[in-house]
């Protein structure tokens, strides 16, 4: 059955970015807004963010947005667009105060202000040493942001379509006119016709096998957009967080190191002193993750295995119980390790997509190097690439990205909705997706999607992970091709219409495959090392050739075509990066 709805603005995804824009849209009751989310919004992965959200509030010591901007630019390995970074760091202060006014229960300083703590890569005086910049609510900052934004959406009477999975975007006559969503509980298709659509569907960490990302983080947004001819930017830059729980990938926040935790190898050495003499354990993530992998490769993993220790035992019970209670809980639950007494076994874990759907500073999706806007389509959050994170995101800057650019997108959509007319739907808007589902359901004798997914995740982890190298990535390219062919014969065991998550998982696998392919192709082509993209066959950064963004397109034959786009540089000229 097919239902049709008409709205002014549609927000796809109920995470931090989506809700922030929905709150702004809902301020004007004349704009009919709906949030469509495949999970109940409070289940979004923003809730998993732990450490904090940075802003130069200077509540505890001197700090300035320019310092923050510098750190972000340096963290991005100079690939971030500096105009956007400046906007983000300027607006950070205001948006944090706004969140506080929305009720967000930040931890407090003794004089009642928002508390702040140091975080990886955040420094004072342009790199002189760590600064307390990360605002936090114990170690559940993301949870509190997500809850607060959801609460405010309820307060503003935002309309929600919960457990509706968007499966296609409708682009007609050069502008976006809506989406198609699958109502999970009934299997019905819904066509949403709208003036403006925002994609804020989060990340796609499920491409890798060791990941901090949720099962739901399958990159539906970018994959849908990509298939409809929208490019994806900087997909080769994927962040591996240094400290994931060994084997499980569950994140141990950088806040542990912010509070004074240190990394140790099998010899008990605090090895980060060798890799980053100034910032030590608080160097930027790419640097720390690589250092850990280096230690492991050189045989100094604990007992020769693929992990090292994150040691917080010297912090004392009070700090751990009060500032890092959830981390303590994870360690006790999943490892049987009490961080008060024992070090935590950690290994780098796939964490954050710097790349995504290219947008301008108002969240408008752009389709080429000259920043041509695709009317009516917006993106924000991890799904989008503004690009403020460049080649490597600093800790706490993602939550900031969500709220700053979620807000900007919301405002711009509101403006657009007031002046634009609703565009006509394309003919037979559900035909393509119906065909896709029918094909998936038709197979009765084939492989389970899970097997393909595992093989994909393994090859991506091994060949397109922290260390990359031309030959390995070629192998990955071949493997992904093979998997894409096998995907045509994947079998969906559940043939019903009611809450068919089997079908959805199979469809999501298609997204993972496409994104893995774009990531691999973009990475193979970039013959340098920069930020999260570390190549063993091209060990250094090469600004002369590669100080540019990648834009990946899918051409008519389904092949990937790579184009490039210049980086915006304002104040900070590229320099060598030392921490």
């Amino acid at each position: 059955m097919i239902h049709t709805h008409t709205y002014d603005a549609l927000v796809v995804g109920g995470g931090g970015a989506g809700l922030m824009s929905a709150i702004y849209l809902s301020r004007d009751p004349s704009i009919k807004t709906a949030v469509i989310s495949k999970l109940y919004p409070t289940r979004s992965h923003t809730g998993a963010a732990q450490g904090g959200i940075c802003a130069a509030l200077a509540n505890l010591e001197e700090d300035h947005p320019e310092w923050h901007a510098f750190d972000t630019v340096k963290g991005s390995d100079y690939l971030g667009d500096q105009d956007a970074i400046e906007v983000m760091c300027e607006e950070a202060v205001d948006v944090i105060i706004e969140l506080e006014h929305m009720g967000l229960p930040f931890s407090r300083t003794p004089d009642g202000k928002i508390a702040q703590r140091p975080f990886g890569g955040h420094t004072h005086h342009f790199g002189q040493g760590p600064v307390r910049r990360s605002c936090y609510a114990a170690d559940r900052t993301g949870h509190m942001i997500l809850q607060t934004l959801y609460q405010n959406s309820i307060k503003n009477g935002v309309e929600f379509f919960d457990e509706y999975q968007v499966v296609d975007v409708l682009i007609n006559q050069g502008r976006c006119v809506g989406v198609v969503a699958y109502e999970v509980s009934t299997g019905d298709l819904h066509v949403f016709n709208a003036k403006a659509v925002l994609f804020s569907t989060g990340g796609f960490g499920r491409v890798w096998s060791i990941t901090s990302n949720a099962f739901a983080n399958t990159g539906d947004g970018p994959a849908i957009a990509f298939r409809r001819g929208i490019p994806l930017e900087d997909m080769e830059f994927y962040q591996f967080h240094p400290t994931g729980i060994y084997k499980l990938g569950i994140l141990i926040t950088e806040g542990v190191r912010g509070e004074g935790g240190v990394l140790r190898n099998d010899l008990g050495e605090r090895f980060m002193e060798r890799y980053a003499p100034t910032m030590k354990d608080l160097a930027s993530r790419d640097v720390v993750a690589r250092a850990i992998n280096q230690e492991i490769r050189e045989g100094r993993g604990i007992n020769g295995k693929k992990y090292v220790y994150l040691d917080a035992t010297h912090l004392g019970k009070d700090v751990i119980e009060n500032k890092l209670p959830d981390i303590a809980d994870f360690c006790r639950t999943y490892l049987g390790v009490d961080p008060v007494k024992d070090p935590m076994p950690i290994q780098p874990t796939a964490h954050y997509a710097m790349g995504g759907i290219p947008t301008d500073m108002n969240g408008r999706v752009i389709t080429d190097a000259s920043n041509t806007v695709l009317e009516g389509l917006y993106a924000a959050g991890e799904t989008a690439c503004v690009s403020v994170h460049g080649a490597n995101r600093l800790g706490t800057n993602s939550l900031l990205d969500l709220v700053v650019f979620g807000r900007r997108a919301g405002l711009d959509m509101a403006r657009y909705c007031l002046e634009a007319e609703i565009g006509p739907l394309p003919e037979n808007p559900t035909a393509d997706i119906e065909a896709t589902f029918a094909a998936l359901l038709a197979t009765t004798d084939g492989e389970p999607a899970a097997r393909l997914r595992e093989e994909l995740q393994d090859v991506m982890q091994d060949e397109v992970g922290i260390f990359r190298e031309g030959k390995g990535m070629e192998r990955a390219r071949v493997k992904i091709r093979e998997l894409q062919e096998r995907y045509a014969k994947v079998v969906v065991m559940d043939k019903g219409t009611r809450f068919n998550t089997d079908l959805m998982e199979a469809w999501e696998l298609g997204n993972l495959l496409d994104l893995a392919q774009v990531t691999t192709e973009s990475a193979i082509n970039r013959t340098e090392s920069r930020g999260g993209h570390m190549r063993e066959d091209y060990l250094t950064r090469n600004d002369a050739e590669w100080l540019k963004h990648t834009l990946a397109y899918r051409d008519a034959r389904g092949e990937i075509e790579l184009r490039y786009k210049p980086v915006t540089i304002t104040k900070f000229q590229p320099k060598e990066r030392v921490y």
């Binding site: 009751p29 400046e86 300027e90 948006v95 706004e98 929305m102 307060k155 009477g157």
Partner: protein, 144 residues
């Protein structure tokens, strides 16, 4: 970069009041009955335990007879204590019964009927008990 437009109306609900004040039952009946349960309960600890210990352990059920009861009721203080015990226990028990009925009898009509029956029985026996204690004439013993 300009941020002016974005600071407008931070943290505010949408104009025209985006939220409704929820409506609960406006009565305070539940809080009062809750408090009554605690207060009567604590009083009942003394009254009921005393009552039980006295008749079961001090007097002994084997030795019970009307004379003993009449003897005791001759003292107005004991009669008052008995009235208190009876009243508190019945009202406390009645409200307790209401909790259970409201939990387990969910059909509105049926609930009303069951409540009617139970209330009648409990209040009826309470009135009967108080009536007995008040109208009781200790002289029946001597008259015999």
């Amino acid at each position: 970069m300009s941020t002016e437009e974005s600071t407008a109306g931070r943290g505010e609900a949408r104009p025209g009041g985006g939220y409704d004040v929820p409506r609960g039952g406006r009565s305070n009946f539940e809080v009062w009955s809750w408090v009554f349960m605690r207060v009567s309960g604590v009083i009942l600890i003394f009254l009921s335990v005393y009552h039980l210990v006295w008749w079961n352990l001090v007097v002994g059920v084997e030795h019970l007879d009307s004379e003993l009861v009449i003897d005791r009721w001759a003292n107005p203080l004991y009669r008052l204590l008995n009235i208190a015990l009876l009243t508190f226990a019945m009202l406390h028990g009645l409200n307790g019964a209401r909790y259970s009925i409201e939990d387990y009898v969910r059909k509105p009509g049926l609930q009303l009927a069951v409540k009617g029956v139970v209330y009648t029985i409990v209040i009826g026996s309470l009135i009967f008990g108080i009536f007995a204690l008040l109208t009781f004439d200790p002289s029946i013993l001597t008259n015999r």
